[in-house]
């Protein structure tokens, strides 16, 4: 690793005009053989590589990214971190991730600006309250921090929320996960890349996989725009493009890729102290350290790979936001963008072996993958290294769609963000 990041080095470099900082990761040539190849240089892919190298000693591995690392959903999400999921399997993986998040910055020697400022999930009617309380109860027994707040407590925790009873969707309460929060997505990507690189992982950007070679049902290598590679193990972490990668080895996936939009406001002085999520009116909002309100919008109901969504989704999003935060009306939307989310039928991820030996899939995170990043990478690395899912990953196999043992988080009305 290049020089350690700390305040002393920062001052030293400041005095030298910052000419001494080294590249955070190398730009290596693609080698002809790797012990494993991870397809997809987003945060999940880089985390997988990082843990493969760190925990499993697999350092002759490569991460192949068709564009620039972190340019997909990693660089496009609203960075909400929480683990208050209903089912045991979900709570286990997201809470595993949350624990890793709390020290990830230190582990990587990279400040990922992890801010445990709390995540509020609002309830607007009895049905929602019932569902959320069920979650709080399950969370408590699963050791996930989560509590129920009444409307007044919601207002105390986040003063700009309107709890006016005359609203179309009045706030009757909500849940709070105090350990939830937000972080800086780019920093996570760069920190993981820097740490993985330091362990010897080759991060190859502008390198698109064009086909995968198999022999007798086993992975033997792959072709890329930068040449061919021999490898016995491939982990696909390609988010919205998962189907396309899996198609290369004829592994059908229960996944559809949809555009999801997000937007930010102009920067403002501190306005809301936490993350606020509302399922009923479809609002997900927090304020970045730069002062921008970061707002998650809706998913378009059709398959698209364009990273562009519909304008009316943004309009509806704004109307919803005004319902919860009437004081936002005079603020301005500064930038909007879209990502391609890989949606699975039960709104839970797929972390699985496939019928092709050596081909592993990590996909289906839908609109909520960011929060799982280190957990996802950690357990997927385990799977790739050992060829067996560990206890946390096991419930998320592809098999469940055949047997019917789904982890139906959307059925439980959990907001997937």
């Amino acid at each position: 690793m290049s020089s350690k990041y700390n305040v002393f080095n920062l001052i030293r470099q400041g005095l030298q005009g910052h000419t001494g900082w080294q590249a955070q990761w190398r730009e290596p040539e693609l080698k002809s053989t790797y012990d494993a190849v991870i397809i997809g240089g987003g945060a999940h892919g880089l985390a997988t590589a990082y843990y493969l190298a760190k925990n499993h000693g697999m350092t002759n591995i490569a991460v192949l990214e068709k564009g620039w690392i972190g340019g997909g959903n990693s660089g496009r999400n609203t960075t909400i971190i929480r683990s208050n999921y209903l089912y045991d399997a979900s709570a286990a993986i997201y809470n595993h991730a949350l624990k890793l998040w709390t020290t990830l910055g230190r582990d990587l020697n990279y400040n990922i600006m992890m801010s445990h400022r709390g995540v509020l999930n609002l309830a607007h009617d009895e049905g929602e309250a019932r569902t959320l309380k069920r979650r709080v109860e399950a969370n408590r027994l699963n050791g996930v921090d989560s509590e129920w707040l009444d409307a007044k407590q919601v207002k105390e925790f986040c003063p700009p929320i309107s709890i006016d009873e005359d609203m179309r969707y009045p706030v009757i309460g909500g849940t709070l996960q105090r350990s939830g929060g937000v972080n800086r997505h780019d920093a996570v990507v760069w920190g993981l890349a820097r740490a993985a690189d330091a362990l010897g992982v080759d991060i190859i950007q502008q390198c698109e996989v064009t086909s995968i070679r198999t022999d007798a049902g086993e992975v033997t290598g792959l072709e890329t725009t930068k040449g061919s590679v021999k490898t016995p193990k491939i982990g696909s972490v390609a988010a919205g493009h998962s189907t396309i990668i899996a198609d290369m080895v004829d592994v059908p996936l229960p996944i559809e890729s949809h555009p999801l939009q997000a937007l930010v406001s102009e920067p403002l002085k501190p306005l809301i102290p936490c993350v606020v999520m509302s399922n009923a009116v479809h609002v997900y909002v927090s304020q970045s350290d730069k002062g921008e309100l970061v707002i998650g919008a809706g998913i378009d109901p059709y398959v698209s790979y364009t990273q562009r969504g519909s304008f009316d989704i943004i309009e509806h999003q704004m109307a919803s936001l005004m319902e919860l935060f009437p004081i936002f009306s005079r603020l301005r939307m500064m930038r909007q963008w879209g990502g391609i989310v890989d949606v699975s039928p039960d709104a839970s991820p797929i972390i699985s072996k496939t019928k092709v030996k050596g081909f592993y899939i990590n996909a289906g995170w839908g609109t909520g993958g960011w929060k799982a990043t280190p957990g996802s990478g950690h357990v997927f690395a385990d799977l790739v290294a050992n060829d067996t899912p560990n206890a946390i990953a096991a419930p998320f196999s592809l098999e469940r769609f055949v047997t019917g043992d789904l982890v139906a988080e959307h059925g439980a009305a959990a907001v997937a963000h």
């Binding site: 009617d125 409307a151 009873e165 005359d166 009045p170 009757i172």
Partner: protein, 220 residues
């Protein structure tokens, strides 16, 4: 719910019968802008195969055929019955208040033997008529339909979304020189929402703004 023609006529006049917008009064704005509910118009949904509709002559419709050209309507000789195209195998028969039961009976007997469906939706929908030369502009605030007179002319009927409510908009046939009238056919339960949204859009043209009924206590 079959009943005699005579009875239904008397029923229509009963004061106890309330339309969905009976709590609203007609509103007027500048330059003849007018909005009011057209109450209790008879409305029947007729479903029938498109192929049959093309050739079928239904006496009960008094000369109004089943239009097979999308988004078109037809009118009876008397001008009292209109048939609106809602879909390739779906029409709405609009008639004068109180006549729907009798019409339904006649249609039923005329169509018997065929595969069809006839449903009385008189109370399912109500109608908001908007007259005056700004009415197209007002509707543009509510829907993505092209309301220009090049693309929306008298007799046309289109289903769309108005604000957040599904509804049909139908341009009535009016006398030459008379003010154009657009008729919104809207579900009764959402009528107040759309009424208020129309009045809000019309506020720029001098119409008073009605606000949706609200204030119900939702929180214990």
């Amino acid at each position: 719910m079959a009943t005699s023609d005579k009875l239904s006529e008397t029923l229509a006049d009963r004061p106890d019968r309330l339309s969905a917008l009976s709590h609203r009064s007609p509103l007027t704005g500048d330059d003849g802008l007018l909005m009011r509910e057209a109450t209790h118009l008879g409305k029947l949904v007729l479903r029938l195969a498109e192929t049959e509709a093309e050739t079928l002559k239904i006496k009960a419709l008094e000369g109004a055929g089943l239009p097979t050209q999308p988004c078109r309507s037809s009118v009876s000789h008397t001008g009292t019955v209109s048939v609106l195209w809602l879909g390739p195998d779906e029409w709405m028969v609009v008639s004068q208040a109180g006549t729907e039961e009798a019409l339904q009976t006649r249609l039923h007997s005329e169509l018997s033997g065929r595969h069809f469906q006839l449903s009385n939706v008189t109370d399912y929908y109500t109608c908001i008529d908007i007259a005056g030369h700004q009415n197209r502009e007002i509707l543009m605030n509510l829907s993505t339909l092209d309301m220009h007179n090049r693309t929306f002319s008298a007799g046309q009927i289109k289903g769309s979304i108005f604000g957040h409510a599904n509804a049909y908009v139908w341009q009535l046939h009016t006398e030459p020189g008379a003010s154009e009238i657009f008729r919104l056919i809207i579900r009764s339960s959402m009528a107040d929402y759309l009424w208020c949204l129309v009045s809000r859009s019309a506020r720029l043209f001098g119409m008073p703004e009605d606000t949706p009924i609200s204030g119900e206590k939702l929180v214990i």
